[in-house]
Symmetry: C2
Subunit: 255 residues, 2 copies
Amino acid sequence: MGTTQLESVPEPKYWHLKTVISEALDSDFAVGEILPNERDLAARFGVARATLRQALEQLELEGRLQRRRGVGTTVAPPRMGVDVSTTQHAWPADSGQGAWESLDCSTAVPPLAVTRLLETEAEEETHTVRRLRAGHGQPVAAELLYVPVSSVPELSSIDASSGPARARAVLRELQRLDLEGQDRAVELGSARADDARELDRLPGAPVLVVTTRYFSAGRTAAVSMATYRADTCRLTFGDSGDLEISHNGQERRAS
Amino acid sequence: MGTTQLESVPEPKYWHLKTVISEALDSDFAVGEILPNERDLAARFGVARATLRQALEQLELEGRLQRRRGVGTTVAPPRMGVDVSTTQHAWPADSGQGAWESLDCSTAVPPLAVTRLLETEAEEETHTVRRLRAGHGQPVAAELLYVPVSSVPELSSIDASSGPARARAVLRELQRLDLEGQDRAVELGSARADDARELDRLPGAPVLVVTTRYFSAGRTAAVSMATYRADTCRLTFGDSGDLEISHNGQERRAS
């Protein structure tokens, strides 16, 4: 099973500490509470600060802690379930289910990766709609929606040339097309600087990247690349109505 | 938008370096190639080793690099698409689509988080089937499938009491039930030690945790918690047949 000899690798030092802190979070702290500083925590648990820091990083990755500039480390609330199922069979829309807001629109040749997904000619321009999704009053995702110019030929030159109005005009034209299907993929990524700013995170923070292809008239009519906050979001895919998995992040996969 | 002032935070130092290395990976290195050691790389790019290390960590998070004990840092192949759509409407099965292998089965009171998902009584026992999923000859996911004892009342005492045979007996009994629906959630987690060993990763490595609830006779008949490698996998959800997003991780969201 691979080239490494993991059987011989012991659990890292901070692992036990992580479990101990996790239990302390359950019993001694409330959601939103600010943790003591690293020096005090290291003293409390009798460990080196480097070990403590590793354990805290792990707990942040698991959604138990949030580290915020100017605030410190706080106990995270349960992750919120964000519906990203493809069962709605709908074009992206403004202020629809999930509270998407259109911020801007520009028209240019897209990155090569997008060209490949769209299977357009290398030099074909796309309208790029930038949207932000909010949940419970917080930003949860930043999206770039790429729409080839040829997908929306009726887009009028009398429409606004940029800004939210232009974005809404592109979405309106998409709605005219017959949506034949869509597919979606989720993978781990790191926040680009502009996404990070909109999501209130630091650049490089782990994010869940959701890529969606929208199919119409036998071709890919649009591609969405949405960056979801991995610390606060749990992406839900349901085929059973509005059921939502109700456990919180901290408790998944307890052993 | 939140309590921090991210607008005033400049891009971190390693960010530009990450982009430069990423371009070098495209032009100067092949998939699987081992990178020079950190000292040589730092010298090549004229940066401090700490900065280099941050950039490498970021590239690992984005799936561009793989760090393997005893091998070093290698250029990662494109992530593989792993189908986790709920459209199949099927109970978990052995060696079915996606090549799941049953490893073991035990019977005990599950963790509290699982009890909540199953909505069973606190002390009700579950059969816990441990499975491993492979793709292209590599382990991609480790799963714990929790099946309340009451979901499979016909499970016979003459069936094997543990091991793969017992696991298959539990799956066989599940197949008898009428599957009414399922839902699925994806979130970021970190690999537990036992999962890490099976997935050929180090404990604490970022993973994608997929939680599935299976519904039958108006209740949750089983819950699966599967840990997917985040470095090598892209989880795909399609409603358009077997279409698969064909771009590789390294190229998503290029700017």
